[in-house]
């Protein structure tokens, strides 16, 4: 599966990669901000987009809206430690399939991939 991860923090992207199963079944791309994400989206046509919520210019939900607006057909997952109702609701309203609580670990990522597959 082609996965695009959008997070301004390099550490967070590294953590995500570190906990991904190393079975060669997934291709991971990274982006740090909206223009970057839109470009990668057009190039790679990811099937799953994992977005951080809390980013400097646009939050993850706003970015997903932009990507959906640009015509991307993919599943969206929000990655955040801010799991309050308003945030979760705004994500679900835009069509996110799941909110994963930060910090990630192997169990959370395995569960996520199982659900998406």
């Amino acid at each position: 599966m082609k996965i695009l991860i959008v997070d301004d923090s390099m550490t967070s992207r590294m953590l995500f990669k570190a906990y991904m199963p190393k079975d060669g079944q997934h291709e991971l791309f990274e982006a740090t901000a909206l223009p970057d994400a839109l470009e990668k989206m057009r190039e790679m046509r990811p099937e799953l987009v994992v977005l951080d919520y809390n980013m400097p210019e646009y939050n993850g939900v706003e970015m997903a809206q932009a990507m959906l607006g640009a015509g991307l057909k993919a599943k969206f997952v929000l990655l955040t430690a801010n799991t309050q109702r308003t945030v979760v609701d705004s994500a679900l309203a835009v069509g996110f399939i799941q909110v994963v609580e930060k910090p990630v670990n192997a169990v959370k990522i395995a569960a996520l991939l199982a659900q998406v597959a």
């Binding site: 923090s9 550490t11 570190a18 919520y53 809390n54 430690a81 801010n82 309050q84 308003t86 910090p103």
Partner: protein, 207 residues
């Protein structure tokens, strides 16, 4: 202590996760949408801390602190400009403060800020400790209002003769349609900071 780009990013991410979790807790308590982010993290020697905090040294600051012990020891101090913290509490507590006398108002502000600070510090420290595999034990929270140099001096009083450093997290809090710039400072001895950074390196190396 010099941090490279990745280490700084890691520290900021830990702080962001911690304070986002605090925002979740606060939103439950205050029934409001709350965001907390950490745009910048700095590490400075103690004698540069008041300058690095970039707050008016004459302005009143409301501070909540909890000291922590374990593999790393020190004090976490959360600070907001007094004006902002008062306005925030008034916005949050709202109607029940109507008609309260000045003394009651101060009591209410003090209590509310102490609890809000308690939640923010605990959540922030918990994530940092968990991610770095440290055991941390926190003290009861304390509260004080004063100007920045006084607050830092008071909190550093027990550390005479030790070389101290401060990890400064610039925090951005959005609550009750207001935006408040605050600072969280972890005041620690150089040795304790070293222990923390060693753990941070270990985490980064494992990725």
């Amino acid at each position: 202590m010099e941090l490279d780009e990745l280490e700084r990013d890691a520290l900021r991410e830990l702080a962001n996760v911690g304070l986002s979790r605090a925002a979740t807790q606060l939103s439950e308590l205050l029934n409001d949408h709350i965001e907390m982010t950490v745009p910048l993290v700095q590490v400075v020697p103690y004698d540069q801390v008041t300058q690095a905090l970039q707050l008016d040294p004459h302005a009143m600051v409301a501070a909540v602190w909890q000291s922590f012990s374990g593999q790393s020891e020190g004090t976490s101090i959360l600070m907001f400009p007094s004006e902002d913290s008062k306005r925030l509490v008034r916005a949050l507590v709202g109607p029940s403060m109507l008609g309260a006398g000045e003394d009651d108002l101060r009591g209410i502000e003090h209590e509310a800020m102490m609890e809000i600070g308690n939640i923010i510090i605990t959540s922030g420290m918990a994530v940092i400790a968990d991610m770095l595999g440290q055991e941390v034990r926190m003290s009861l929270p304390g509260y004080m209002e004063g100007n920045l140099p006084d607050i830092m001096e008071q909190r550093n009083r027990d550390n005479a003769g030790r070389e101290m450093q401060a990890i400064i997290m610039f925090t951005h809090l959005k609550a009750a349609q207001r935006e408040i710039e605050g600072r969280m400072v972890m005041l620690m001895s150089v040795d304790s900071v070293q222990v923390l950074f060693d753990r941070l390196h270990k985490l980064l190396r494992s990725l």
